[in-house]
Amino acid sequence: MYYRTMSLQQLYQLLLEHPQKGFQIVVERYQKPLLSYITYKSFFAGNVEDVFQETMYRAYKNISSLKNPERMYAWLCGIALNVIREYGRRHHLHLPLREELLETSRPPEVTSDIATKISLLPEMYQQVVVLKYLDGYSYKEISDLLRIHISTVRSRLFEARKILRNTMEGEQ
């Protein structure tokens, strides 16, 4: 029971002392949102399981590179994003990541897709949107996971919606 309620600092300490035990708690805590994030990010590639396994493996192997335990979830998402990009390059998949889409002008039928529109949002907005819509998390749960204030969660969601709505209205 103690393991479920332990703080991130305590969890980090456990990770350094007993990596296997600590990592089990990390998985227990972050598996669900991380899987959602990867499912969403791999929407165009569809190799969720490989990406997830690889992310978990890299996180486990490089746990010592996590400097700020408060940013554990963001760190895991960062690893996942790198893995997705590598897979994309290796398998020559076109993953409409934000940078790529901003660089190249995509044909209108692609840009009209809502998935593409969300992927054009800044990364921090995307994270909040995914947690809200895919996992159905409340403001409080999102703020706990991302270690940001509830008002920040609310404003990020609001900003994301404003951008999405404006791009949709601009098309009509």
Partner: protein, 167 residues
């Protein structure tokens, strides 16, 4: 309009079902009389429906991954790591055992040598017998070979003397 900023926040919270019942009532009372906020509310509601329909598709996709074993890759690596460790410790064990055996056999050899030399001194009398063949069976016969030859000559010399110059 300044007032409407506050209701914009309530609109977001309403879409996210985070409003208390009092806030809910307050918002709807405002929506009834403010056309601007009403329009905003409708547009965000439409967007919310679009997002929900997109993400419900993803939710279905995600369902097939709920049974993923997050330790699959990690444990496969741990398996080889532990096998390697096991192998390494086995090699270490073998080395230790063989070192111990080597030390033990050297000790045995030294002991046998000592016993042999000691008993040889005790049996020195019998050495003068012509039946010296058994001495060659000694594991260290090559050490005492020169000595044996000397003894042998001495024995024949004695015989020679006893036989008055005839063998």
């Amino acid at each position: 309009m300044n007032n409407c900023c506050y209701y914009q926040e309530l609109i977001q919270a309403e879409i996210d079902r985070e409003n208390t019942s009092a806030e809910k009532e307050e918002l709807h009372a405002h929506l009834r009389k403010c056309g601007h906020c009403c329009k905003e509310y409708e547009s965000f509601l439409k967007l919310d429906q679009n997002l929900n329909s997109f993400f419900s598709e993803l939710k279905e996709q995600k369902l097939q991954y709920t049974k993923i074993n997050p330790f699959k890759k990690i444990s496969s690596i741990n398996y080889w790591k532990s096998r390697f460790k096991e192998w390494g410790s086995n090699v270490g064990y073998c080395l230790k055992v063989s070192a111990a055996l080597a030390v033990f056999s050297i000790m045995c050899l030294l002991f046998v040598t000592f016993i042999w030399n000691f008993s040889a001194q005790l049996r020195q009398v019998t050495w003068s017998s012509p039946n010296h063949e058994n001495r060659l069976l000694s594991p260290l016969w090559f050490y005492s070979r020169y000595e044996q030859e000397e003894e042998f000559e001495k024995y024949y010399f004695l015989l020679f003397e006893e036989g008055n110059g005839r063998l």
